[in-house]
Amino acid sequence: MDPLKDQSLLSKSPASFFFIVSLSVFVSEASVMLLLYYLPQMSLIGEAIIDATLLIAVVSPVLYFFLFRPLVVHVREREQIEDVLHENEEEQFKVMIRTSLDAFVITDPDGHILEVNDAYCQLTGYSRRELLTMNTADIEVMETPEEGAGHIGKLFVTGSNRYETRKRRKDGRVQTVEVSSNYSKLNGGRIYSFLRDITERKQAEEQRSKLLREIESANEELKNFAYVVSHDLKAPLRAISSLADWLSTDYADKFDEQGREHMRLLVSRVRRMDGLIDGILLYSRVGRVKETMVAVELERMVHEVIDLLAPPANITVTIANPLPTVMAEPTRIQQVFQNLLSNAIKYMDKPVGKICIACSEEKAQWKFSVTDNGPGIKEQHFAKIFQLFQTLAPRDRVESSGVGLALVKKIVEMYGGRVWVESAVGEGSTFFFTFPRTPANPNPNPTKGAQA
């Protein structure tokens, strides 16, 4: 509320103010009349002088007491209140700065320290007394004079500046600080700066990015390693294969039954190794070689896969319900179905084999399943079968590289999906996998994925 209203009669009650003024005018005019009545020989000028004099003598005090004085008193009081408030405010700022966890320093434009708080003393390791004789440049570490000038130059232009710099403590320890400065032109120029020790944060950041770089390069190396190794293993393998072939051809008459059997085993092991190497290549290519994401009509693609696998006459493959169209890399999604279906066909042990593909919607994902009435898998192997090179049947009985399910897992997880199996021994297995209905870009390094 404006205190004026309490002080001046004019604003408090204009009617009474005007009444008092009118009354005083009436009193002065009445006195003039009386005087004129007793002093009839007065000239007109004399009358006017008396009239004016009385008017002023009566009205002025009224105006003074009822209007001006209250105003003056009010302004004075207000000034006093403001002074008190101002002192309080200053005191508050002083307390704020003194108790601040951030270091605070005031310098002149040349960097001479004019005032510091306790936190600044702690940050630098110098006492306040020492600091007041120093220049901020004395505790600056890396900054060249040009760099420092750059910070200050920007400060003079824009009025404020935030930057990171390094300070050397009195004990020699170097720390990284974040500085927020403001420049004021008052008192010949003052720079007010808050400083925060971010050494630990900085170190943690550096450590983290270093770790990240190491992981990235290790990952890169691993990817290339898998590729280079398998590539380089192929050349000698080819030589072994050729030489074994020539030996068994050129010296066919010199081999007895056992010798021929050994050569046969040698060649079959070479083929197996070739298959393993191809498996590694295939596995390492997922995520390393990127394909364009396109809309894949799974219905059509799965039929193509079934045709490609050409299941024997005793096995029927059915699709339970219409399959959707998904956004994916065509080769990858095809590999998933191809591996699941070829496993179901390869390991089928029943005279009438039944394989069924189904699909259902589950929140933001599609859930696909491939069910067979094959031999089934013991629960203890549920996790193991998805690992690279793990097979349950001896390789001599069922030729398998042990890459298929690992590949399926890697692809599905790359798209943010999940793969698992449910099975009853003797009755069959169902392999499930989920696939996002609106896939984000495939993540080439699934966190849960097997490393290759």
Binding site: H231, K234, L237, S242, D274, V289
Partner: protein
């Protein structure tokens, strides 16, 4: 091959691979002489020697010491005197980048060396059949 008298230039450093090619060619009755050189640099030296007959085809391995197949292609395919000799890459590499680089440099074919010798013979048979029919500006 169309010209039975012109040599086949085999740029290959692996001894057994050289034997494989020679044996396979013999098996499918290709009688062209085979000139084997161990890397791109030696092959270039041979091709630029006016005393040598230009080959009717170059069978090129990619992974070789000193000058590899891609580096060799970069030189040959920018040389007006050599660029028209058909080059068929014969390699272990199935790497997409190698295929892209090879075809960018105008190879006439890209064959992956099969591990199985029998299949290798079939690859050579196909190459021979093609380059027996195909016209070449020699």
């Amino acid at each position: 091959m169309k010209f039975a008298d012109k040599p086949i230039l085999l740029v290959e450093d692996d001894k057994v691979d050289v034997m494989t090619v020679n044996r396979a060619l013999k098996e499918i009755k290709v009688t062209n002489p085979v000139v084997n050189l161990e890397n791109g640099e030696e092959a270039l030296k041979y091709l630029r020697d006016p005393g040598n007959v230009k080959p009717c085809i170059i069978l090129l391995d990619l992974n070789m010491p000193i000058m590899n197949g891609i580096e060799f292609l970069e030189v040959v395919k920018h040389d007006p005197l050599l660029r028209r000799i058909p080059v068929v890459v014969l390699t272990t590499s199935g790497e997409q980048q190698d295929k892209i680089s090879s075809f960018d440099l105008g190879v006439a074919g890209y064959m992956s060396k099969p591990v199985d010798y029998r299949q290798f013979v079939e690859v050579m048979r196909t190459i021979d059949a093609y380059w027996t029919i195909s016209e070449v500006p020699l």
